[in-house]
Symmetry: C2
Subunit: 179 residues, 2 copies
Amino acid sequence: MNTLSYGLLALVSRKEASGYDLMLKIQPFWQAKHSQIYPLLGGMEEKGLLSAKWVQQTDKPDKKLYSITPEGTKMLHEWLSEPTSAPVMRDEFNLKCFCIHMADPAEVHRLFVERRKYHIDRMKYYKDIQESIPPEHRNPGHIAFEDYILLQKAYMRTKASVDWIDWVEELVGQWQPQA
Amino acid sequence: MNTLSYGLLALVSRKEASGYDLMLKIQPFWQAKHSQIYPLLGGMEEKGLLSAKWVQQTDKPDKKLYSITPEGTKMLHEWLSEPTSAPVMRDEFNLKCFCIHMADPAEVHRLFVERRKYHIDRMKYYKDIQESIPPEHRNPGHIAFEDYILLQKAYMRTKASVDWIDWVEELVGQWQPQA
DNA sequence: ACATTCATGTAATAGGTTACATGATTTC
DNA sequence: GAAATCATGTAACCTATTACATGAATGT
């Protein structure tokens, strides 16, 4: 059982869902392709952590709905009490920053402007999903509270990246007149 | 050539370094083990992007120092002009948050307190490295400026995580008396 | 007509971690 | 005497991405 499997199990524990549902739902918090998710769900079904049933749909293709089993719930509780791995962050932009000294200042500026726009777009993406949660569900005790606070975290961390870019551009702006 | 290879090439372009040096230097920005770094450096040497020489040391084991070649520098410039991949963030803590509804409140609180401490420690780690950079090198034009601003970014994003935890704990605190 | 969304799966490849392997020097 | 740091490398395994494969319905 890897970390992503536990994440999927946790999502199913909140509400029965298809692999496709889960793929979309987990995106903002863990980027995984369907080709990784489907086999993991199949494995958890085999292990008896999930049970599945096919649901026929008229307007859309049929789907396989997963539900958590008592054994699955037990696994989730065990996972929660185990030590939590350190977060992993991999950003090509950061590595490109190691080249500022050798790059054309205009290209560096383009890089920062481009990344700033990316972050601003992400902030809107997070806020839009967050605002779709009814205010009465934004309280501890509701399952939607989990989504509400996680989207807030993604928003706040992304905003920190924008604030950092503005801080860098200000530093560079203050310095250039002296050059 | 993958992203990590370019990051290593960028670091070598600033100053000749050993695999071990690079492993330590890149840690705060890209978590990679020595077992991944050594083969990548060997591959870039074969491709003629890096040149290497063995340096004998009396007090420590001998080391292999890498320098960038003109072809390596050319590759770096090409990389900078190519589109930058979106950052990837994977945090088990976020997935555990999907279980708040089913977990013991005391355990959830422990999870948050533990993670808060982790972030506070990381903030100190980033600040300590950043403060080791002489103030006169913290300006655009110096190579150390790149480290200075990247450490600031890591610090600001980590601080955002702490602020978020405090925001959540406040939300939960306001709600509990009504329960 | 063409792109997107919904829906599921497998195969091949690339990226990353853990374990294996060695060995000197320094610090507690 | 034990642990940590410095230093390099390979092998096995796990994780993740890209490509292959199919097909209906909806929107432009």
